[in-house]
């Protein structure tokens, strides 16, 4: 990749790296001059950034801080309106969240485990399906290709609530598409048990993968189109196998953009409330008691808002560490 040009310019523009002791050539000096101008000139833009910064502070940082602080307080329906005077209870909420006390359907650890398992599995399935799907349409082979590309986008384009309801009605015992179809082809008239008990976890993963792969597909398709054709030509001349072409050309070419898609996708599943709520209702089977529904249960069924926040904080801590490490690995590691 053509990294040399812009990259070199960037370091030169950085005043700190081009120190006074350097004996600059004419062009270097001009560049450094630009760099100085550049920095001074950024000021009006920084001023323009103030509204964005304020909005970020007020609507993102403040609620996050309030959420964390709430997790140390006893917040019930009656104390909620006097948030500042709500009594401190130290780590009480956390110990309840940890052990699953206080009426929680599952312990926080269980919820975190279910959620991690579910979001990682879903993202992996979505990655595989998304990349394969992109490979089937990245070259226009017929007049049908644009139509297929458009169709591929439908599951992801469906609003989350609509898609969740669609699958709920497909899986509804007796009258849904699944059971009706089974009856029609003579596979017995029994009701499916996909929405209850042990099968519910597989159902959740399956349905969410159906909703999610299109997002990855979009990233994969874009990344594939950015890979220069000459590399495949060279590989072909060198007699590379299909696997080698994928391993040494395709994969390095789509890796970075896929990483972005995978991180965004993992976050989206990790916090998804709509799908588990629509599929399993307010009292889901324990296998699908994910963080968001457990926290929702604590807040809006038990009216123990401090406990709800403690569950959520535990969830954030559990995901933030691996994801931050991953982002640093993919982005800053490669840039150096």
């Amino acid at each position: 990749m053509a990294k040399g040009g812009p990259f070199k310019a960037r370091t030169d523009l950085d005043v700190r790296s081009a120190g006074p002791s350097t004996r600059p050539s004419a062009s270097r000096a001009r560049r450094r001059d630009n760099g100085a101008l550049f920095r001074r000139d950024l000021r009006p833009l920084v001023v323009l950034m103030v509204p964005a910064a304020i909005v970020l502070l007020v609507i993102d940082l403040a609620p996050a801080v309030i959420g964390v602080l709430s997790s140390f307080r006893l917040l019930t329906f009656s104390t909620l309106s006097h948030w500042f005077s709500a009594p401190w209870v130290g780590l009480h909420n956390f110990s309840q969240a940890f052990t699953g006390g206080g009426g929680l359907p599952v312990s926080g650890l269980n919820a975190i485990w279910h959620t991690l398992e579910y979001s990682v599995l879903t993202t992996i399935i979505a990655l595989v399906v998304g990349v394969v799907a992109a490979l089937t349409v990245c070259r226009r082979t017929s007049r049908a290709t644009p139509v297929i590309r458009a169709l591929y986008l439908v599951p992801t384009a469906l609003p989350l609530f609509t898609a969740s309801y669609l699958w709920y009605s497909i899986l509804t015992p007796h009258t849904g598409l699944l059971d009706t179809f089974r009856r029609t082809i003579g596979l017995g008239g029994g009701a499916n048990r996909l929405l209850v008990g042990d099968h519910s976890f597989a159902t959740l993963v399956g349905v969410d993968s159906w909703l999610a792969w299109g997002f990855i597909y979009l990233f994969a398709l874009a990344a594939l189109q950015g890979i220069p054709r000459e590399r495949y030509e060279a590989a072909e001349i060198d007699g590379a196998s299909r696997w080698q072409k994928f391993r040494f050309i395709t994969y390095p070419g789509i890796r970075k953009l896929l990483a972005v898609g995978a991180v965004l996708s993992t976050f989206a599943h990790y916090n998804d409330f709509t799908l588990p709520y629509v599929l399993f209702g307010t009292a889901p089977p324990t296998g699908v008691s994910v963080l968001s529904t457990t926290s929702y249960e604590a807040a809006y069924s038990l009216y123990n808002f401090g406990l709800a926040d403690a569950v959520a904080v535990m969830g954030v801590i559990a995901i933030i560490v691996p994801i931050v490490m991953y982002i640093w690995y993919v982005f800053s590691g490669r840039r150096a």
């Binding site: 310019a9 323009l48 993102d60 609003p159 495949y232 299909r242």
Partner: protein, 290 residues
């Protein structure tokens, strides 16, 4: 053209594997979505009893669904709320993303990682503090906040603004600084260079970010349920109320509900597919330069 065949990523999959995969994926999409479309024109009695194909097409669902469901108002509200939220996110995020990409400051990577990290904060956790903040403003300034359009829009900004900022920053990172410099040498001020040179280059990225922000709001149920009022219910809330009204009925109008679901999905599906080329171009640009 036959020789070209080996020279692109498509060749990584064997032609047979490719055809099979394509067929399997298409069936996987068409069956559920087709079911939705068929059920939307199936008489309510037959949907409730369970059927694969209607005895006669009942197009009337698409007329009756507007009455008493708040669907129309919900769609208008969703357009207003999601449109303004994603517009604001793109406007604010473009500047913030550009500055965070071009300015060299300590902890820049940490800042960008933090923006992405905000996506990991569960809605359930943000929701309650947001309600507390809004109720606080309401009591302090004696204005109504909860239930207004802009309160819901601001709530959606909590997710879309960090995302747009991060996305734009990542994209601008891939736009060579030489372009800024060229504009500067031609006598443009920095804001001018940003508006005239950079903005046209990052339009695809802005389109992706704007579209994602819009979709998040359109599909959300949780925030809208808590913060929107009777006059500002979004389309998801309208559908959910319709659903819970029907659950207990002797003759649930599931066919009508499906028609309403199709109607609620249609605008965003059209938007998504219409912008597809744009979105892929935006992401491709990022990957070429990254």
């Amino acid at each position: 053209m036959a020789r070209q065949y080996h020279y692109d990523p498509t060749d990584v999959l064997h032609p047979v594997v490719r055809s099979v995969a394509r067929a399997v994926i298409l069936v996987g999409i068409i069956v559920p979505v087709g079911y939705m479309l068929v059920m939307s024109v199936t008489p309510n009695v037959e949907v409730a009893a369970g059927t694969l194909w209607p005895s006669h097409l009942s197009w009337s669902h698409y007329l009756t669904m507007w009455a008493g469901t708040g669907l129309g108002a919900g769609m208008v509200n969703s357009v207003i709320i999601c449109g303004s939220a994603s517009g604001a996110a793109v406007l604010l995020g473009a500047v913030a993303g550009y500055v965070s990409s071009r300015a060299r400051f300590r902890g820049r990577t940490s800042f960008l990682t933090l923006l992405l990290g905000f996506q990991s904060v569960p809605t359930v956790m943000v929701l309650l503090p947001l309600v507390i903040v809004m109720a606080g403003i309401q009591g302090l300034l004696h204005i109504s906040v909860i239930g207004t359009y802009w309160a819901v829009a601001i709530a959606y900004l909590t997710f879309s603004l960090p995302l747009v900022t991060w996305f734009v920053a990542a994209y601008v990172d891939s736009v060579p600084r030489d372009l800024d410099d060229a504009a500067r040498l031609d006598g443009a001020s920095m804001p001018q260079a940003f508006v005239r040179v950079i903005i046209p280059m990052i339009v695809p990225a802005l389109a992706v970010a704007g579209l994602l922000s819009f979709l998040v709001g359109w599909g959300d149920l949780l925030i809208a349920t808590a913060i929107s009022g009777p006059g500002t219910h979004t389309v998801a809330v309208a559908l959910n109320q319709f659903l819970s009204n029907e659950e207990g009925q002797a003759l649930p109008e599931y066919g009508t509900l499906m028609a309403a679901s199709v109607a609620s999905a249609l605008p965003v599906v059209v938007l998504y597919i219409g912008l597809q080329r744009f979105v892929v171009a935006g992401l491709t640009g990022a990957s070429v330069k990254a």
